[in-house]
């Protein structure tokens, strides 16, 4: 109860931004995926903080769903990545931009 809402929110914001940076700068599909996961976690932190702020359970329920959906996301994402890696042997997103 000691930590003010604003601080936690700032932390969540920082985490989300870090996720963004990871997703945009690392030339590796898996790292992009990881970056997005980090963003999701940032959002989850914000939810926790909000739940604390309003003393409600909804925020925490959100977090549980986020975790579940993130798992689904990773599984689907990895499936696609693995398939592509098998085909081309590359994880570099630069190799996947042929469409005009």
């Amino acid at each position: 109860m000691g930590i003010p809402f604003g601080y936690v929110l700032a932390l969540a914001g920082i985490v989300v931004v870090l996720g963004m940076i990871c997703a945009t700068t690392r030339r590796n599909l898996i790292m992009i995926l990881l970056g997005v996961e980090v963003m999701l976690n940032g959002a989850a932190i914000a939810f926790i903080a909000a739940a604390l702020r309003w003393q409600q359970l909804e925020g925490q329920a959100f977090v549980l769903f986020i975790i579940a959906i993130a798992a689904a996301e990773v599984s689907l994402g990895l499936a696609l990545i693995v398939y592509l890696y098998h085909r081309t042997g590359s994880l570099n997103p630069e190799d996947y931009q042929v469409l005009k």
């Binding site: 963004m20 700068t25 992009i32 997103p93 996947y96």
Partner: protein, 629 residues
Amino acid sequence: MIAVGSTDTTLLAAIAATKLPFVAFAVILLLTRRRPRLSAGLSLTAIAVSLASAGFLLVKHWGIARPIEYAALWLAGGDVSVRVGILIDPLSLIMLAVVAAICLLVQVYSLGYMAGDPGFSRYYAFMSLFAWAMTNLTLAPTLLQLYIFWELVGLASYLLIGFWYEKFSASEAGKKAFVMTRCGDVAFFLGLLLILVHLGNLDIRELNGAAAGRLSPTVVTAGALLIFGGIIGKSAQFPLLTWLPDAMEGPTPVSALLHSATMVAAGVYLFARLFPFFSLSPTALGVCLAVGTVSMLIASTMAMVSRDIKQVWAYSTISQLGLMIMGLAAGNYVAGVFHLTTHAAFKALLFLCSGVFIHAFHSNDMVVIGRQGGRRLRVPMACLVIAAAALSGIPPFSGYFSKERILGALADLPNPLWVAAGLLGAFLTTYYTFRLIFIILFPAPGGEDTAQSHGSEHGHHGGYAVMAWPLVILAAVSVALGFGEKAVAQFLLNPFGSVTPAAAHHAWLPYAALGLSAAAMLLAWFEFGRRGAGQIGFVERVAPLHALFGERWYIDRAYRWLLDQVVYRLFSRLCARNDQKIIDGAVDGLGRVIAAGGGRMSILHTGMVQYRLIVVFVSIALMAIYFFI
């Protein structure tokens, strides 16, 4: 129709005189184009009835004092209502008679002249169109109606000048005539609008009456000058005079009818029609006088060097029209109108005679005609001489009387310069007229050999008799008309109430004029007529002068330059270029820019997935930051 004061026979006759030619025109064009004889018959019948009606009207209303007017509302609008109708007064009656008579004679003459032409029906259709337009112009009670038919005679002129359209020069001349008169017409039209705006209507009687007094002097002067612009165009006065000589590309009867006797005289007629209105503005009269004088003189000089027989008469027409305008502008209404009448007769005669020569010898060149034995065509030759004498103002031919009147009127003016100019004009006129006569009559030695063959070809056409009769009639008229001077003057002046004294008090004037004419004739005889004459005029000995006259004082060149360099090359090209490059270029450019932008935009969407993410994040950040601004 609202009758304003006479019995129905007058109206009936007037309608017959003015409307029948239109019927003939429509029927010929629509139905009888393939039957030339029928077409000619229709046209002749119509114009003959016109002439009979005109004669009837003239006899019936000889001596009327008050004009008779019929009018019907043709078109009602907000501020303007267009009325059409008939105005019968001495001036219109005389003009109508002149027009109908010459139309009929020329149409009879054309039976021979145009025989065998593939466009025979078309010719008569256009002739009827002209007759319709001209008669209606003559009897117009409002300026608007006058303007409408004014344009229509212009159209008829265009069609008839370019009748032999396969000849480039003919179609070119038609176009030139139309466009140049159009320039004058625009001024006329503007004058019309000016008067309409300030006076509220365009009734000729009102304009000539007290109503015009309501207008401010500036408006009167401006209006008169603008209308005079139309006269300049139609009557081929300076500076719009060069279309008329070119108009001689048309068939000769056309030249006789339109471009000497009637249509070009419409300008003078308009002047006479609005004579009281013009009189309100001394400034305008002064300008008219000056323009008439300049036209008369420079046209005469041009006639002095031309070898083309029709061209000479064309210049002469300009010159005589100038003289009429001088007479009117000098304030003598009768003089101008009377000269218009006599001129119509003898100038038509001149052209028709020339037509016979041209028909016979297939050449317009007076020297060639002379060499090939022009003088052996006796009737035309005699008529030609009579007409030439009338033109030169030699008594007792009609021209003498009318010219004397004009000169008298000029002598009345305070400034003697005008009468001097008039006398100089008379001298020049006689000179160029007899130059032509002598060249034909006394050809320089050099072979009359080809004459026979041409004669036979002429006989082949078989129209000689048909062509001769109109000549004889016109010659008779030319001789006789002069003696009707007093009666005509009285008749014309009836509506004005008082009779202005004749210009008889310049006793010296007839002697001076006659003396000059005689001198001119002598000079002509010396240079062209006498045995062994070199047939080289004094003008031709001075090369620059010859060039100046021969080139029509370079007026045509100036127009050509203006048209080619300024209108076409400068304005038209500039506008066309501007349209293509700037206005349309802007539109196409916009299209190209958009298309190019689309291409760029499309390429932006093919970037690597992480660049796209950056775009997303930056946009989100911008949107978030926007909240704080």
